[in-house]
């Protein structure tokens, strides 16, 4: 193998110019370019109908792209679909299960389907990891919604994929299962599995992801390291609780983005997180010079959710 190709963080999935127009005329994806790095957790955020599931479905071979190219570990998903697909595990959004099949039967089916020889030890490990081992002989129809979700994850992991797609993995699951699933995702990443998840829960992306992509109306609006995204687009707020209420913002503070709140007893300053090194000290210095007294202050940082809403609404 050519050693020059083995760069430290090669893209495990590379998507270029991906476009999908459905028969109905709906353009679900518009020339999307995206590279997923090996071993990362990538979160795809976006409102309903943004194109997240279409993107995943194309990479997994369920939807045919209109234009563009996808390489999975260097294998074209159309011409070398066997090599590409055998590396991928998919956990769909909907609870599609074979009701009459047992848990054990369905994971064994999945492993075989993906071309792997039977391996009871691996399947047992997967089921134990997901707390499904005790349920292995139960019919899927007798399981709760959360358990069915676990079964779908077990099926996706049955053939030891290198890349795992989780389409809305925690939609409609309880808090405990959500925490369990986050822990599982971290364990998988620890073993070198690349994970791509779509989610509506921004705290999930904030908690889990290394990088975040935001999709809106078929376009990839932003792709960024999570921390960089929050630094770049995150807003911070400083609130000063004044000793004496103010009627208007003093002229000497006109250069700052200030608002009076609570009948003039609070002065609120909003600034970009990227300016945090200079913003607060300069303002406080000036306030001191103007002789304005305050009894308390607090700061807060906008969440990824706020960032997301502003990104999506900007382009609406």
């Amino acid at each position: 193998m050519d050693r020059a190709k083995l760069s430290p963080l090669p893209a495990v999935i590379s998507i270029s110019g991906l476009t999908k127009t459905y028969a109905s005329g709906l353009q679900a994806l518009k020339r999307v370019d995206l590279e997923i790095r090996r071993g990362e957790i990538f979160a795809l955020l976006g409102p309903n109908g943004a194109g997240k599931t279409t993107l995943i479905s194309i990479v997994c071979g369920i939807v045919t792209p209109t234009e563009g190219r996808v390489l999975v570990d260097g294998h074209d998903i159309v011409h070398q679909y066997r090599a590409a697909r055998s590396k991928i595990g998919l956990v769909p959004q909907e609870l599609h299960t074979d009701m009459f099949e047992s848990v054990w039967g369905t994971v064994r089916f999945s492993r075989g389907l993906f071309g792997r020889a039977p391996d009871a030890a691996h399947l047992e490990k997967v089921l134990r990891d997901l707390s499904l081992w005790d349920k292995r002989n139960d019919k899927i129809m007798t399981l709760s919604g959360g358990m069915k979700r676990r079964v779908l994850i077990a099926k996706a992991l049955a053939h030891e994929p290198e890349i795992l797609f989780l389409d809305e993995p925690t939609a409609g699951v309880d808090v405990e299962l959500r925490r369990d699933m986050w822990a599982l995702v971290r364990r998988l990443r620890g073993r070198g599995v690349t994970i791509i998840l779509t989610t509506h829960y921004i705290d999930e992306a904030e908690e889990m992801a290394d990088r975040i992509g935001v999709v809106n109306k078929g376009e990839l609006v932003v792709v960024e390291e999570k921390t960089a995204l929050m630094r770049k687009l995150g807003k911070k707020q400083l609130t000063l609780h004044l000793q004496e209420p103010m009627m208007a913002i003093p002229v000497g503070l006109g250069d700052w983005n200030l608002v009076l709140k609570n009948g003039g007893s609070e002065l609120e300053y909003t600034f970009l997180a990227s300016e945090e090194r200079t913003a607060i000290p300069e303002l406080l210095l000036r306030i001191g010079e103007l002789g304005i007294g305050y009894k308390d202050l607090n700061t807060q940082q906008s969440s990824l959710e706020d960032i997301f809403v502003s990104l999506v609404s900007e382009r609406a």
């Binding site: 369920i62 939807v63 697909r85 055998s86 991928i88 089916f109 075989g112 389907l113 993906f114 071309g115």
Partner: protein
Amino acid sequence: MSTTTEVRAFNRHGVLAIYRFEMARARRTLWQSLVAPVITTSLYFVVFGAAIGSRISEVDGVPYGAFIVPGLIMLSLFTVSLSNASFGIYLPRFTGTIYEVLSAPVSPLEMVLGYVGAAATKSVILGLVILATATLFVSIHILYPAWMVAFLVLTATTFSLFGFIVGIWAKGFEQLQFIPMLVVTPLTFLGGAFYSIDILPGAWRTFSLFNPVVYLISGFRWSFYGTADVGVGVSLAMTLGFLVLGLALVWWIFRTGYRLKS
């Protein structure tokens, strides 16, 4: 985690997984799958064999009760192959579990081998069960057993292939019933399952030659008794022709992603 997954040219495990899954589905409904056809066949023998047979006695030198056996087997083979195979592929489409098969490294040919192979296996087993049931009523001597098995397997495969196509085409459970009810059953009854088309008046006999089922039943009956409505070569060619037609349709379905992929 290894980064080099071995990729074979043929996904043997994938075909076996689908085949076993489909056979397991049949085992869960073993009672309905086998008992119903056995009862139906017995009823046919009571009505056609005993009641009508007592007045017809012989067709082409074969006792009437024995004469209808190949036709009866074919009748069941057509309907069961169609319904089994169409249900086998329609169900995952309906429940959504098809996503897994579509996202797996399984080629169209492997998918067909798994689904159609299982449906055809079930039909052949059923055909043999009906044959065994028939021997309880009439004595049967099979002149060309190898040809009998060949026609049985070919017809089961061909109709399972058609069933697979119907299962992909169907938009609802009603449509799954549509082809067997409205097309295959009438063609079978008019195709000489219970009589030789030679006994039909001239015009109707000519008309019957346009019925593809005539050739399938005739060839199968020839393997039992050595007598046929049409030449056995023609029967074999027609059977193979249907198989090729089915394969071509399936090839087109996978090429275009028709009703499987958007």
